[in-house]
Chain length 418, copies 2
């Protein structure tokens, strides 16, 4: 009998969870080989990326070397990692094409995640800063500092105001956290370094809908709104963006926001490669999978995380693109592949919602745990504890703890990151 090969595309939350679960199930895989592919050699802990962008923590604290992460507790042959960029997929020939190697597979876990959604707005990519990769986080941090340095020596009043306005587009969790920490970075930390500029600085959060944190409990959006305002963020609701330019945002109702710093966290869409898959897609481009996360028309192809759109018993279930769903799907898919190899029936995936926690600055957060909304200092300490716990490796936890203690008692990092 030939050895089977399981290939996992992408080492985000879903891919890593699948790889680790397969490692645990190794004795049940009948010797199957597991190969994890990613374009980076580290797993990026995305939920804290906004903190890198706003001087809260050092970039290294949210990057975990993949080779150290897989193979925890496994007894069989190791899960392999290969750093390469996935360029194409032939589901007929069961082959993955990458920039470094072509790989045949028996089972494929498609976990490549999402990219920033610009909603077809023209030229927007060249005007705005997304926040999806480590590079984006570093670029945001550098941009905020650079804007202050440039404004300090800029004689033109209008240009100076544009430089000192930071607009965050998108009122979801990332948008709220980014706007909040940008405000703290600008109005607290940088206020000490650039006292004459602070009266001219603005931080705005621009959201097309009429509330923040849509998809979560309305109470949470109201708490976030209030807290953001008290931190000095101008929250512009009902304000869909019509277009952007190098010097500002135009909204659909004719308002304009003059700014040279637009952070675009208004939504995500599946990676381009998802479009090429011969599978049914939902309206938002996600790949439709069945209850056990397999593509119905292509046996052996599983899709998890931000790319997956589930239907079950005829009903469609569109989950938000969050880490906790990807992780649970990753584990489920690993078990299903093991059951399939062993010839046992696969299990339908069911999502166990654990709650939400949104950071709102020093001593504040808002969240939902066990059907209850929590906020204020308890939520803040829960946030810090929870995420410290989630960071992998003792050293990263300790370094992050130091970074956070420094922010809490003193100030954020103002040295550029390149």
């Amino acid at each position: 009998m030939q050895t089977k090969r399981i290939v996992i595309l992408g080492a985000g939350f879903g891919g890593i969870a699948a790889a680790r679960e397969l490692d645990k199930l190794q004795t049940r895989l009948c010797g199957a080989e597991v190969v994890l592919l990613d374009q980076h050699n580290y797993h990026l802990f995305m939920p804290l990326l906004y903190q890198v962008g706003t001087g809260g923590i050092e970039p290294g604290n949210i990057c975990f070397p993949l080779r150290s992460m897989i193979n925890k507790g496994g007894t069989g042959p190791p899960v392999m990692f290969r750093e390469c960029q996935v360029q194409g997929l032939d589901v007929e020939r069961k082959t993955v094409f990458t920039n470094r190697v072509d790989l045949e597979y028996d089972y494929l876990v498609f976990a490549l995640g999402s990219t920033t959604n610009f909603y077809g707005l023209p030229d927007i990519e060249s005007h705005v800063m997304p926040l999806k990769t480590l590079k984006d986080g570093i670029a945001l941090h550098n941009r905020i500092l650079e804007s202050f340095e440039t404004a300090l020596l800029e004689p033109d009043e209008q240009k100076r105001r544009e430089l000192l306005t930071f607009a965050v587009v998108g009122g979801g969790a990332t948008g709220v956290e980014t706007a909040c920490t940008t405000a703290i970075f600008v109005f607290k930390t940088l206020a000490r370094d650039f006292p004459p500029l602070v009266p001219q600085a603005r931080v705005a959060l621009v959201e097309g809908a009429d509330s923040l944190l849509r998809g979560m409990r309305p109470e949470m959006g109201r708490i976030a709104l209030q807290k953001l305002k008290s931190r000095g963020v101008e929250v512009l609701l009902n304000c869909p963006v019509a277009c952007t330019s190098p010097t500002g945002i135009q909204t659909r109702d004719g308002r304009s926001i003059p700014t040279r710093n637009i952070v675009w966290v208004a939504g995500v869409r599946p990676v381009a490669l998802a479009e090429t898959l011969p599978a049914d897609k939902a309206r938002d481009g996600r790949i439709i999978v069945d209850g056990q996360l397999e593509v119905a028309a292509v046996p052996g192809l599983y899709v998890i995380g931000d790319c997956a759109y589930r239907t079950q018993f005829g009903a469609s279930i569109a989950y938000p693109p969050t880490a906790q769903i990807a992780i649970q799907e990753g584990r489920a898919v690993a078990r299903n592949i093991a059951w399939s190899i062993m010839g046992r029936p696969q299990q339908p995936f069911s999502y166990d919602y654990r709650g939400e926690l949104i950071y709102l600055g020093r001593n504040h957060a808002v969240g939902e745990i066990g059907n209850r909304v929590i906020d204020g200092a308890p939520a803040f300490w829960l946030y810090q504890t929870y995420y410290l716990n989630k960071l992998m490796g003792f050293k990263k936890k300790l370094s992050t703890l130091i970074d956070w203690a420094y922010d809490y008692f003193y100030r954020r990092n103002t040295a550029k990151l390149d």
Copy 2:
């Protein structure tokens, strides 16, 4: 009486020392304004840059925000910092031209330091990695990891060997420390992640002269040589480089070293702007200054650090380009400017040699303190203590301590830095 303005170009060791000393002497400057210019908003702690390049410490630990560093203990108006790139200098009109602002001055401290010296070798810049900026350090770290990832999937034996050979050119302090830590990174840390590749990996240190650490006590060079060999570094002495290519080094005596990774730390030369100064230059391009570090023909122009070449009582004194000299010169120049403003005679600079410490890996270092050569574990612990102490800010010390403890007990950082 018009307020005088002192402009300091460059926030390296010399520039920072001058700015801080001027801050201390503020009451004696008769209200003179002090402006520090640099292209980055942070001071880079260069002596530990090789550790960023070889996974020893996180980049943020050697970057100190300049605005937080100046103004310690001063009582008068603050020393100002402006982030800009110095583009030109008119010593007749006493004006500095930058990318953001033109600045007139009464006293100028030229402390722009040095760049990598390629000794006029053709095309070399495109084949080698220098190690002068934070970007260089990050690039070296990423390159080592990238080479292993590429080699893992490279079918061609020759190419694989080139990818896995790391050649450091230059047997000075930086070269020795870089070669040593590269060897530890490759043969200890990466050996666990890439077991099949390690037998093919090579680390070489290439030096044109017949000994290492020239300019220091010969005993130190011998100790370094022995230690490097025991760490697995191939040390090639009497091996001047004739030319480089994308796939290797050709030496003048006809040897060739096939490699795709050349770290070039063979020497420095003054920044390009130094050439344009209307002052006498030494043969190596450094600007000749008198005993009080002033350019004789241009009163009010002081040169310190890697750009300065001193003559005194007719004799020339060519100091090596080290941090300790730049710091002492920076302080001396600050005092001389203060005395000049007060109408008092300036003092000749005299260099107080404090010693050297060269890192040679876990439990080893070599150095000279008070005319005695020390090595082994005592030198290692002295090295760690000394440099932890030199890092600015409690947080950086603590983070670096954690990084070092992690390296010491466990392993170096293998997550790429971008």
